[in-house]
């Protein structure tokens, strides 16, 4: 049996990590990443990179938790190594504050992050409009650094990279045995997925190097994430809004909301702004589909629909996708020996 040729479509955080996982974990595989956009132009690049995730309504909680934990553990070990600054991965502590106590005070991820506890009254005094809060330590993973770092590791594992847009899975069936679809919103056309829709997010980057804690409002709309060279302020959640240019009204509104949470931001210098479209779906699509191409059947492993949780779940979904690829190869071997 010759080398199995795997095509991974998409070079955002999901595509690169999945490709790397396959290249490192499965012997006798040649892996090629195909994408029209690479870092710093992917949807992953502008995201703050804070490891935290809202619940997918249509995915079982224990499956989501496993993805989150696998990702957290993977990033945690990078953060403690000398690779941390190259990979853009580091620990950050802070607070999630709620105007009114949420129905679920202790979320499913509370034992995945570090040191989770409820905020004390003294801590809540900093947030006069908020009555309840959670304090914990999580991770940051900055894609403008992390994606090139992944790509380097991928190439060291003999991975190939090809620039170009894939408009039809059929294009790939002649040259590849297995296709892995990590195209995020690209699956709207590529996979004809009507459950998938964009949720627009606009953010602002400011210079405020004295800020060391994240602050997230439980409503998920207002957040402050200190980074390596800037602080990300956000944000918006606009369903089915595809505008990729920054809206000045959104910008001034989010700046005001963030300053209300952290008054020292009023003295910060604005650097840039960015808009990303979260590839949102009721449930994250991670499954195998057999694609009919002429007389052949080519397996496609779908790995998309991470919404705003791409960075938070990437390694867990990459591991699971790799497992699905392994199963395909196993079946193929069995089939070829019948």
């Amino acid at each position: 049996m010759g080398r199995v040729r795997v095509a991974v479509v998409g070079a955002g955080v999901v595509g690169l990590s999945t490709a790397l996982c396959i290249a490192e974990c499965i012997p006798h595989c040649s892996v090629t990443v195909l994408a029209d956009k690479f870092s710093p132009d992917t949807g992953s690049d502008g995201a703050a990179g804070f490891v935290y995730v809202n619940k997918f309504p249509d995915t079982p909680v224990d499956r989501q938790k496993r993805w989150l934990k696998d990702t957290f553990d993977h990033l945690f070990s990078i953060s403690n190594s000398s690779e941390a600054p190259d990979a853009g991965v580091y620990l950050i502590s802070g607070w999630q504050v709620f105007r009114d106590p949420p129905s679920e005070k202790r979320p499913y991820w509370s034992d995945v992050v570090l040191g989770f506890r409820f905020m004390s009254d003294a801590e809540l005094e900093k947030f006069p409009k908020h009555k309840f809060g959670q304090a914990f330590t999580s991770l940051k993973c900055e894609c403008p650094l992390y994606l090139p770092w992944l790509e380097k590791r991928f190439k060291n594992a003999n991975g190939q990279v090809q620039r170009g847009r894939v408009t039809d899975f059929g294009q790939l069936c002649g040259n590849y045995d297995i296709i892995v679809n990590c195209t995020g919103l690209g699956s709207l056309s590529l996979a004809g997925d009507t459950d998938l829709h964009p949720v627009r997010g606009q953010i602002l980057k400011v210079q405020a190097p004295w800020l060391k804690h994240f602050i997230r409002d439980g409503d998920g709309l207002t957040y402050i994430f200190p980074g390596i060279s800037s602080v990300t302020l956000g944000g918006t959640r606009q369903k089915d809004d595809c505008r990729l240019t920054a809206d000045p009204k959104d910008r001034s509104d989010m700046f005001e909301r963030c300053c209300a949470l952290e008054p020292s931001l009023k003295k910060s210098q604005v650097l840039t702004e960015w808009v990303g479209l979260r590839p949102t779906r009721g449930g994250l699509r991670l499954e195998k589909e057999m694609f009919q191409h002429g007389s052949r059947q080519v397996p496609i492993i779908h790995n998309y629909g991470h919404g705003g949780g791409g960075i938070s779940l990437h390694w867990g979904t990459a591991l699971e996708a790799t497992q699905l690829v392994k199963e395909c190869i196993g079946n193929r071997y069995l089939a070829s020996n019948l």
Binding site: A84, L91, L114, S120, K126, W210, P263, K266, K267
Partner: protein, 345 residues
């Protein structure tokens, strides 16, 4: 009344401000002069990392624990002030690490969110089996001292760039009250066997991905002798040197190596950090802070001295509580003078 404050580190400037704020309306005229040969950014307060954290245990010195808490509470009131960063104040959380179970510190209820470390957190620090996590405050001398000077200047305080050679020269010139905030060099004005230098050397590095302070502790070798990493508003301070009795203010390569190696071992990502600066300073170490009055008489000339020095490595941590106490002592001087004046009628 004419008041001369000697020393323009955090102790001198905050004492001046406290006295001014409390007595400017009741004591008229209230003339305050500051005398120092070093001003920001060249004082000991400027070199310090600026983390609010007292020594672990007060050993019964509840007065100092009270002053530390007062300082924390005072600085915390500025945390939502848009000018907080101009003052050099911001919050930072972090880790205190130990090689054995350790009783909670005397300041556990002063800081925010104090808790013990979980096993998963301790996994980050091989060799350390116990620890604490809390949110504390940073107070950076390089911003705070200029802010204090602005507040003082606004209220007419005059600054003299001059070394005072003796208390006598001030007493002779007619100063009513001297506030002695001379830190490590207090012995030059009045011998003090209890005051000794606790030399420290630190490196300032570029490591903006670090968002927590990490302080290791060794009960046997003592405070500041083991590695510590304290991110600041721009650079990260790393250190772990405490040499009692060493008067050298020069950095030396041996201490530089020791700090660099031990801190890189603690946090491997530091290997990529660029070293920007190297500095040595003398902590004014004393068995306890000297904060008390003394009357000085030279013939007919008489002055009251309020001593406020010997804050070791916790000057920024304790400054406001001490400044308030210095102002209390000043108030007593004012009261005594009033009573004397009335008793003469």
């Amino acid at each position: 009344m004419r008041v001369a404050v000697i020393g323009a580190g955090v102790i001198g400037l905050s004492s001046a401000l406290c006295i001014l704020d409390r007595y400017r309306s009741s004591v008229t005229p209230l003339i305050i002069e500051v005398y120092a040969d070093q001003y920001t950014p060249l004082t000991t307060s400027d070199g310090a990392a600026g983390l609010w954290q007292p020594y672990l245990y007060d050993k019964g010195n509840v007065q100092e624990t009270k002053w530390n808490k007062e300082t924390f509470d005072y600085l915390l009131t500025y945390i939502n002030d848009p000018d907080s960063i101009k003052m050099g104040i911001f919050t930072q959380s972090g880790y205190n690490l130990f090689t054995e179970p350790t009783p909670d510190p005397s300041w556990r209820d002063s800081v925010l969110g104090f808790r013990h470390l979980t096993p998963q957190e301790l996994d980050m620090f091989p060799g350390y089996s116990y620890g604490w996590f809390n949110t504390a405050l940073m107070i950076e001398g390089k911003s705070y001292l200029p802010w204090l000077m602005d507040r003082l200047r606004e209220q007419g305080v005059i600054f003299f760039h001059r070394k005072i050679e003796s208390f006598r020269e001030l007493v002779d010139s007619g100063v009513d009250v001297i506030v002695n905030c001379t830190g490590i060099r207090a012995g030059e004005l009045q011998p003090d066997q209890d005051l000794k230098p606790g030399r420290g050397q630190i490196l300032k590095v570029e490591a903006p991905w670090l968002k927590h302070f990490i302080i290791t502790n060794d009960h046997k070798t003592g405070v500041y002798t083991t590695p510590y990493i304290i991110p600041g508003s721009r650079l990260v301070t790393i250190g772990g040197i405490f040499q009692l009795g060493n008067w050298s203010q020069e950095s030396n390569s041996q201490d530089h190596q020791k700090v660099w190696e031990s801190c890189s071992k603690l946090v491997p990502s530091l290997k990529h950090a660029r070293i920007v600066d190297d500095w040595a300073g003398l902590r004014p170490v004393r068995s306890k802070v000297r904060l008390e009055r003394e009357t000085l008489e030279y013939g007919a000339a008489k002055s009251e001295v309020i001593h406020n020095y010997g804050h070791g490595g916790f000057g920024l941590t304790i400054h406001w509580g001490c400044a308030q106490e210095a102002a209390n002592l000043f108030g007593k001087v004012v009261e005594e003078k009033r009573q004397k004046a009335t008793s003469r009628l």
